[in-house]
């Protein structure tokens, strides 16, 4: 990549490097648009991950349910949201998890911007 690298704190732009790395993971998450696929995943997570060709770090990140690990493994926010949805997690659950806050703390942080 000849793109100049510019760091933005706590932020991983989903660029070509990430898109390459995360392809299988994101493809699996894209499949979760279908309720049947969500059920198939829940029924046998390991088999489903293997079917989509996830790498070992991607599988570990899925098992851990840790969004920061999923991002490090190439996950894209728009697709990962479908994975989070399987567990009934909303965006504030996810925000709290990534920032190491309780959900109430995270909500308070958001409100403070008002």
């Amino acid at each position: 990549m000849t793109q100049p690298t510019r760091q933005i704190e706590g932020t991983t732009p989903f660029d070509g490097d990430m898109a390459r790395k995360g392809y299988a993971l994101n493809k699996m998450c894209f499949s979760f648009n279908s309720a049947d696929n969500r059920a198939a995943f829940k029924n046998d997570e390991e088999a489903y991950m293997t079917q989509y060709g996830l790498t070992e770090p991607q599988k570990a990140a899925i098992r851990s349910r840790q969004v920061l690990d999923l991002i490090a493994a190439g996950g894209n926010a728009y697709y990962l949201a479908k994975f989070a949805g399987i567990f009934g997690l909303d965006m504030q659950d996810i925000g709290a998890q990534q920032t190491g806050m309780t959900k109430d703390e995270f909500k308070a942080k958001l409100k403070a911007y008002a």
């Binding site: 704190e9 932020t11 732009p13 926010a77 958001l110 911007y113």
Partner: protein, 281 residues
Amino acid sequence: MAQLIGGLATSHIPAIGNAIHKGLQNAPYWAPFFAGYPPVQQWLGAQKPDVVVMFYNDHGLNFFLDKMPTFAVGAAAQYNNADEGWGIPTLPPFKGEVDLSWQIINTLVGQDFDIVTCQDMLVDHACTLPLKLFWPEGEAPVTIVPININTVQFPLPSAKRVYALGKAVGEAIAAWDSSKKVVVCASGGLSHQLDGERAGFINKAFDLQFMDSLVSNPEWATQFSTLDLVEKTGTQGVELLMWLAMRAALSTAGPSVKEVHRNYHIPISNTATGLMAFEVA
């Protein structure tokens, strides 16, 4: 010739669909958000547009990384909504304005925009929710042309390029041989970030400046690079590109715009929500 009468812009969030479905519009959490819409609904009731050209960004429903477009223009007779992964009830299909789709497609390619054309296209909450917010009763009495702008995978089109796209769309509408009234609509933003240690980032000062800029200095935000926008507005805040495209289209319809209404409320979900309506002056 068709008449481009005004522009709309609103945030979108899947949770809004859920709130509508559950009738939570007056609940304390939701009221400051939904309260923004009636003035715009009334304006639309008076103006009676026939067609909405919707600038929005797909959230992984219709497009995947196997074929990820920069700009995609719908050319379907009907657009279906579908499950995006959360099982939220879907909205009924929307009717396409196919003549205008091709008018826009021909104009854009003629002006060196390298668009994807979609004769079949699922539309997600970003396309459907604005229509539900603006026309809450029954089905929206309009046909649509959805125009998708990539915010999923970098490199994104620059703010400058998106502005140029919007202008060309405005020109296409103005040259459309039809007596219909058209509004352009933007769906997305304002500042928010869902992913990373900076999740929950919001930038009220920037949002307000951006909303102001759209009234009288609409190219203001085109000075920023994609990474500038990420830094200032969050990873999903870049969805404000939709607002730029909408406003650029309006710039072709008259010398200035009149602000009809605006609302700004923090937060819904993780998002600073914005709403604006413009009339061509």
